[in-house]
């Protein structure tokens, strides 16, 4: 990282195989257990531990059970307000999606660099967010065509469209529909990447200005450090908001599939 004395803010996104698994493959495809995969597993394990605390099933809940029930209730309300009563069957999927992304975002923000480890945010890779977006989009398509058959295409002709306008409106609506998985996946990827780059650039300012001399360190360095503290708080907010936006848009799209217009 610090070869030639430069700090590369993009190095944090590099994927490296761990534990000598570089050559694991499945059907000719490389499936090395990378640092990215490690954080996926960590997110899954942390989520599993979190939800286990909600499995006590007591009538009067403790704090932990209350927290888990709050999260499931939050997703339930999100789905009911966007999809209606029929949205309840998507609680398992949207809950998994929201919590998995949320924990991925938050685990990637942990200050593990202080103890010599390299935190990794797999939601800053569009290979990962893209899979999640395509999954949500596929569910929308499957549910839409399953429930409404070819009538699902009426989604692209809004109510009250004059007959003459249909040839124009239909392609526009179709394109805006097809763009959804890209916007869904790229939004999360871009938000996470931008935040982490900004933090690393500012951290580079702190280090390089301190190395340049005590005067620079006290002015540029401390100013950058104060800014970093603020932006770290902002990034935690962004981590929550982006997970929420992903879950919210997924439920909005599910509403189209469930209820058409």
């Amino acid at each position: 990282m610090a070869e030639s004395g430069k700090i590369d803010p993009m190095h944090q996104f590099a994927i490296e195989p761990l534990f000598g698994t570089d050559h694991w493959s499945l059907g000719g495809f490389n499936i090395a257990f990378t640092n990215s995969a490690l954080y996926m597993v960590l997110a899954a394990v942390v989520l599993w531990i979190f939800v286990i605390g909600g499995m006590k099933r007591e009538l009067v809940p403790g704090r932990w059970q209350m927290a888990v029930e709050y999260m499931t209730g939050f997703i339930k309300n999100l789905l009911i307000s966007n999809v209606g009563e029929g949205g309840k069957k998507y609680i398992p999927y949207v809950f998994s999606l929201f919590m998995f992304i949320l924990l991925a975002n938050l685990l990637g923000l942990l200050p593990l660099g202080l103890i010599g480890m390299h935190p990794f945010t797999f939601t800053s890779h569009f290979t990962a967010t893209g899979v999640l977006a395509i999954m949500s989009f596929s569910i929308v398509l499957i549910v839409g065509f399953w429930k409404h058959g070819l009538h699902f295409f009426s989604l692209f002709v809004p109510h009250g469209t004059p007959l003459a306008m249909i040839p124009v409106i239909f392609p526009i609506e179709l394109i805006s529909f097809m763009v959804r998985p890209f916007s869904l996946g790229l939004r999360l990827f871009v938000a996470m990447t931008a935040g982490h780059v900004l933090l690393k650039v500012l951290a580079g300012f702190v280090i390089n200005s301190s190395n340049a001399g005590i005067g620079y360190g006290l002015t540029v360095g401390s100013a950058s450090f104060v800014l970093m503290i603020g932006i770290s708080a902002l990034e935690m907010l962004v981590a929550v908001i982006q997970a929420y936006v992903f879950a919210l848009l997924t439920s909005v799209y599910l509403n189209d599939a469930e209820n058409l217009h």
Partner: protein, 164 residues
């Protein structure tokens, strides 16, 4: 940008591990555990609303019972007051009858006593007239030596008594 630079080397591993971990999350946590958590919350909500409904019903029953009690209480009061009024008027009537009887007895006794008093005072008057006439005759005889007749003395005494 490693996301793009490494894509050819890492896409398969990324997709594989994401599907594996998210699949486990979805099937184990999402389908296996979340419905139970949600079920507990739903059962609690149902219990709370059930208890609230029961409490409301109990309230309504209590109100009904109170209204019932008030009606019965008012009825009992009215009946008691009627009984009381009847007893009072009966007692007053009985007292009146007894008083009237006692009055009659008392009036008889008073009349008899008055008659006796009148007789006694008349007798006493007659006695006084006789004594006074005798005294008058004696006084006349002693002063003038004339024997006054009995009638003259009696008339003079009567006239003197009448003038007081």
């Amino acid at each position: 940008m490693p996301q793009i630079a490494q894509i050819a080397d890492t896409y398969s591993s990324q997709i594989f591990w994401l599907l594996l971990t998210f699949g486990l999350v979805f099937f184990v946590i999402g389908l296996g555990m979340v419905p139970k958590v949600q079920g507990t919350a739903d059962a609690r909500d149902a219990k709370i609303s059930g208890d609230l409904d029961a409490a409301k019903a109990a309230f309504a029953r209590a109100d009904e019972a109170e209204a019932d009690y008030r009606v019965r209480d008012a009825g009992n009061r009215a009946a008691a007051q009627a009984t009381l009024a009847k007893a009072k008027s009966d007692a007053a009537k009985a007292t009146e009858v007894k008083l009237a009887a006692a009055d009659a007895v008392v009036a008889d006794k008073i009349a008899a006593a008055e008659a006796r008093i009148k007789g006694a005072s008349e007798a006493a008057m007659a006695e006084i007239e006789t004594v006074a006439a005798d005294a008058a005759r004696d006084m006349v005889a002693r002063i003038s030596g004339v024997e006054a007749s009995d009638d003259a003395a009696r008339n003079a005494v009567k006239a003197a008594l009448a003038h007081g």
